[in-house]
């Protein structure tokens, strides 16, 4: 009972920002969570603030600095694999020309008051931020591996197509805590958009493979 009262008292004190720095040292993670969440402007709408919520995977990846032990890694990969959803018509390969456009678009999803994206702005996959793809695009990043000749090297069997779709939909199903976003899980890209990017990667006519 007494512990419960103390806990209640702490909860009551917790949200006061003036106290954020003067709390006695304790669990760094819980203090840091409190400071982090208290650091955002009060006029951020609640639906923006929800972006700070962590699912179990985000929480574990943060805790282990993106390098979880094998047991945790397997747990994450299994749970993420189960999250993958497919287009209604079951077709996993779309139009590579649409995929090419999506791979280059890096805008969308920026919020805040200083420089938000205009409402309704298209969200792309922004693949070139991190990957080399078509030969003609020289402004590519290197955070992820080069995907030039992706289909040429791997073929375009049903198995490869499914792997490619799954990887874009939920990268963590294969590599827990990878830098790559979970595009499908977050509805950042629709299943249909993902099929276009799959085509861009595996279609022999796509500049990723042809050039």
């Amino acid at each position: 009972m007494r512990h419960r009262l103390i806990a209640l008292a702490l909860i009551t004190l917790a949200p006061l920002p003036a106290l954020a720095q003067s709390k006695p040292a304790g669990d760094i993670a819980s203090q840091a969570e409190q400071i982090f969440r208290g650091s955002f402007r009060d006029d951020n709408p609640a639906y923006w603030m929800k972006r700070l919520d962590q699912d179990e995977t985000m929480r574990l990846c943060s805790q282990f600095k993106d390098n979880p032990p094998a047991r945790v890694r397997h747990k994450i990969e299994k749970a993420e694999m189960a999250s993958i959803r497919y287009p209604v018509d079951g077709k996993l390969i779309g139009d590579w020309k649409e995929g090419e456009k999506l791979a280059a678009v890096g805008t969308g999803g920026h919020i805040g008051f200083i420089q938000p994206d205009p409402p309704g702005r298209v969200r792309g996959g922004n693949c070139y931020a991190c990957h080399q793809l078509a030969k003609k695009e020289v402004a590519y990043g290197t955070i992820g591996p080069s995907l030039q000749h992706f289909g040429k090297l791997r073929g375009n069997t049903e198995q490869i197509i499914k792997y490619t779709y799954d990887k874009i939909y939920n990268s963590n199903a294969f590599t827990a805590c990878t830098n790559m976003p979970r595009f499908g899980l977050h509805n950042w890209l629709t299943p249909e958009q993902i099929t276009h990017i799959v085509a861009f990667l595996v279609d022999p006519e796509s500049p990723v493979n042809k050039d």
């Binding site: 720095q21 840091a32 208290g38 955002f40 919020i111 200083i114 020289v138």
Partner: protein, 268 residues
Amino acid sequence: MSARLRAALAVVGLGLASMAMAQGSTMDEIARYREMLADGNPAELLELKGESLWKTPRGPKNASLEQCDMGLGPGKLDGAYAQLPRYFADTRKVMDVESRLVHCMVSLQGFKYEDVTRQWFSRPGQESEIEALVTYIGGKSNGMKIDVPARHPEEARMAKMGEYIFYRRSGPQDFSCAICHGQDDKRIRLQELGNLTTRAGAGVAMSTWPSYRVSQGAVWTMQRRLIDCMRQARWPEPKYLSDSVIALQVYLQKTASGTVMQTPGIKR
């Protein structure tokens, strides 16, 4: 900055962008650009303006900032920036250069907090006094080593929280600071990324802010830089001078300690 200088810079910026595309290394081009501007980094004008703002009696109390204690004692500015953020006994808070500066403008000059911070960064046609003052204060640490050992328990706690925030993943792209700034020799598009978990990487970053940003046509402070990182992460907008931004700075300055300050920098 004059419209002519701004226009000239824009042209140089465009030229640079195409050269970078052709030649691959953005950093080489920026290094060359820095050389070209060695006699006239636009931020130096701001440094002069900052000096005048520091020394002129202003505000309801008609006082200058010359008695402001940035951590080394009232009026002692040489090396102060390189040793911030730090714990201040009078406010019982770990403060960065900007939060301490605002504290002085409020307590010494009598300005209202809301008035001083309203224009915490510049927009085209609207200059920011804070940017000018921080540029001036930054220049007073040039040639000195960043020295934030975070030995005070409050500083040590903030460094740990900064590290926690650095690795904290959230948002619709699963981002954290670490995914872009946790490895050596990576690029996003053509922009080279520093590994902020190492002394070398954090040193390059931290020793050159405040920095003139060519793409923005303005000097950015470290608060502005970090708040924009959070925008890029697709998170909501932090408050200016918030504790998480200060905690990140303690973590980064601690990691960068030993690197020699060279401000104002010039960045993409």
